[in-house]
């Protein structure tokens, strides 16, 4: 056991998700090869690696979003609180309510700000208007957007700036009370100021949620995450506490990537 792995074992008080022997295929192409990874509860895990290394594919397997891609096949076990989310009889809809997702490109619905956040509640069967209004406010506050939009909740979400739209998507995700939030390069299309706000938000959300974030930016991974997993060519090369990974990586590949020699 390497030093960083030991540190992980010590630091882990609670494992939220475990993946075992995960292989993911697109048709005949294998995108992910034998990935074993534990995701710690109420912490931020960053997935890094060069483009095409499979980190986004892996992320989308954690809430069964890959089910929507017809050619995609997932093998192995992905456990959420010890239960395999790919078991027969597990409803992917239920999985996605517990494991929310924020996408690379902000994708608000062409509806009002309020209706965007309320969407998940309404499709979940919530009818009580007071409950919905309260949850919308709480979620917008949770996503640090409330003060900017509280006076125009009924105007179109498409009128917001890029950074605000992405925080709206986070609020929309928070509204259904997920346990885990997956983020697929959530700040890659934003300017530095908006990115800083998102990163600050992620650090706050860590208190209550388990967050897995895919990022292209090494600095971002270093700033926001507690643990980092380095993917290369569909394989998990190294995983450890973020400060260890960035100061004393054990694998040569990791070091080369982190120091910017490739990728």
């Amino acid at each position: 056991m390497s030093e960083s792995q030991k540190a992980v074992a010590e630091a882990r008080n609670d494992v939220k998700m475990e993946t075992r022997n995960v292989n993911i295929f697109y048709g005949a192409n294998q995108a992910i090869r034998d990935v074993d990874l534990d995701i710690t509860d109420r912490s931020v895990t960053a997935l890094i690696g060069p483009s095409g290394c499979g980190k986004s594919t892996y992320l989308r397997a954690l809430n069964r979003m890959n089910d929507t891609i017809h050619s995609c096949r997932v093998e192995g076990r992905i456990l959420l609180d010890g239960e395999n989310i790919y078991d027969r009889g597990v409803d992917p809809v239920e999985v996605r309510r517990r494991v929310g997702m924020v996408f690379q490109k902000s994708n608000p619905f062409p509806k009002s700000i309020f209706d965007n956040v309320a969407f998940g509640l309404r499709i979940g069967g919530e009818k009580d208007k007071d409950v919905i209004a309260q949850r919308v406010e709480e979620s917008l506050k949770g996503a640090a957007l409330w003060d900017e939009v509280k006076d125009r909740l009924q105007s179109s979400a498409l009128g917001l700036s890029g950074g605000q739209q992405q925080r709206l998507c986070i609020a929309r995700c928070l509204a259904v009370w997920p346990e885990v939030i997956l983020m697929d390069e959530p700040a890659s299309a934003l300017d530095p100021l908006a990115t800083a706000k998102i990163e600050e938000l992620i650090r706050e959300l860590r208190e209550r949620y388990t967050i897995v974030i895919v990022t292209h930016s090494m600095q971002q991974a270093a700033r926001v995450s507690d643990f980092t997993a380095f993917f290369y060519m569909g394989e998990l090369v190294e995983y450890g506490k973020t400060d260890m990974m960035f100061t004393r990586p054990t694998k040569k590949r990791t070091e080369e990537y982190i120091s910017g020699r490739f990728g």
Partner: protein, 299 residues
């Protein structure tokens, strides 16, 4: 920018073609309006035709056309939209069923409309109608197995089906994948995603396509010749099994079956004008809906 000889030539050719088309359209519409407008009166629009078909009005034909168009829409459009939703949202891109349906739809779109008429006669009237008669009635006189507004409408519904399917599928495809993903990631089922996100966002495109298909169906004559349109029937259909008058068919009848073709000409032009106004207003409606739905997508 430097213009070469070819540029000028191309610009000239396209300009001439445009002028020819505009001229043809202007002459056609001008002619119809010129001869047709004087005939239009309250009496013409609200009365039944006289025994000579020339005097009186065309109300039964207007009523029949509108009634048939409504029936056709009710029968065909939901099926078409449902098929398009299946193809675009549920079927896997490599599914054999989806492929077969697509091929069938494309071929259906290329079938001449008179063939649909024969299909209506053979399938709806003789097979379905005749079958019902044989099952339910002892009487040798047909009850369902004869031309009627019901069978004509169903025949036209089949005719418009491919257009509805293709345009609806296209409209569904314009809804970005990101919106579907967002909805699914929030724990929406596939049905909720289609119903709450995809359909509302494709509404404008679907409506436009549906209206254009319906307006095409409303003006078709050849499929209904065998299936229920009547030459001369100066009362209104009150039952689905009644035959009916139709504006397009009335034009054909006036032009070819009238005892005095020359005397029928003003009535003929009046009828054409009414038919054009009906289909043009449907098209106009489609244009308005399309521009509105485009505006709605902007913030």
């Amino acid at each position: 920018m430097r213009h070469t000889k070819q540029d000028w030539l191309l610009a000239g050719l396209t300009g001439v073609s445009l002028a020819v088309i505009l001229l043809l359209l202007a002459v056609l519409l001008g002619q119809i309006f010129w001869h047709g407008a004087p005939v239009i009166s309250a009496q013409f629009l609200t009365e039944s035709p006289g025994a000579d078909m020339i005097s009186g009005g065309i109300w039964p034909a207007i009523y029949g056309t509108v009634f048939m168009t409504l029936l056709m829409t009710i029968a065909g459009v939901p099926v078409g939209i449902a098929t398009a939703i299946f193809l675009s949202e549920y079927a896997s891109p490599r599914s054999r069923i989806a492929k077969a349906v697509r091929i069938a739809v494309n071929n259906l779109a290329g079938v001449p409309s008179i063939v649909f008429g024969l299909f209506g006669l053979g399938f709806f009237i003789i097979f379905v109608g005749g079958g019902v008669d044989a099952l339910l009635y002892d009487d040798p006189r047909p009850v369902w197995g004869k031309p009627s507004i019901l069978w004509a409408s169903l025949t036209l519904a089949v005719l418009t089906l491919p257009v509805v399917i293709v345009t609806t599928e296209e409209a569904l495809r314009t809804v970005p994948r990101e919106l579907r993903d967002a909805s699914l990631a929030l724990g929406a089922t596939r049905f909720q995603t289609v119903y709450k996100i995809v359909l509302p966002n494709a509404k404008g495109g679907i409506l436009t396509g549906v209206i254009l298909a319906v307006s095409r169906g409303a003006g078709e004559v050849s499929p209904i010749i065998f299936c229920g349109a009547a030459n001369f029937l100066p009362y209104l259909p009150t039952d689905l099994r009644d035959m009916f008058m139709h504006l397009g068919y009335h034009v054909y009848a006036l032009a070819t079956q009238s005892p005095n073709v020359d005397a029928a000409r003003p009535t003929l032009f009046g009828t054409v004008l009414v038919l054009l106004v009906l289909t043009f207003s449907l098209n106009l409606l489609a244009v308005i809906i399309r521009s509105r739905s485009r505006a709605a997508l902007r913030p």
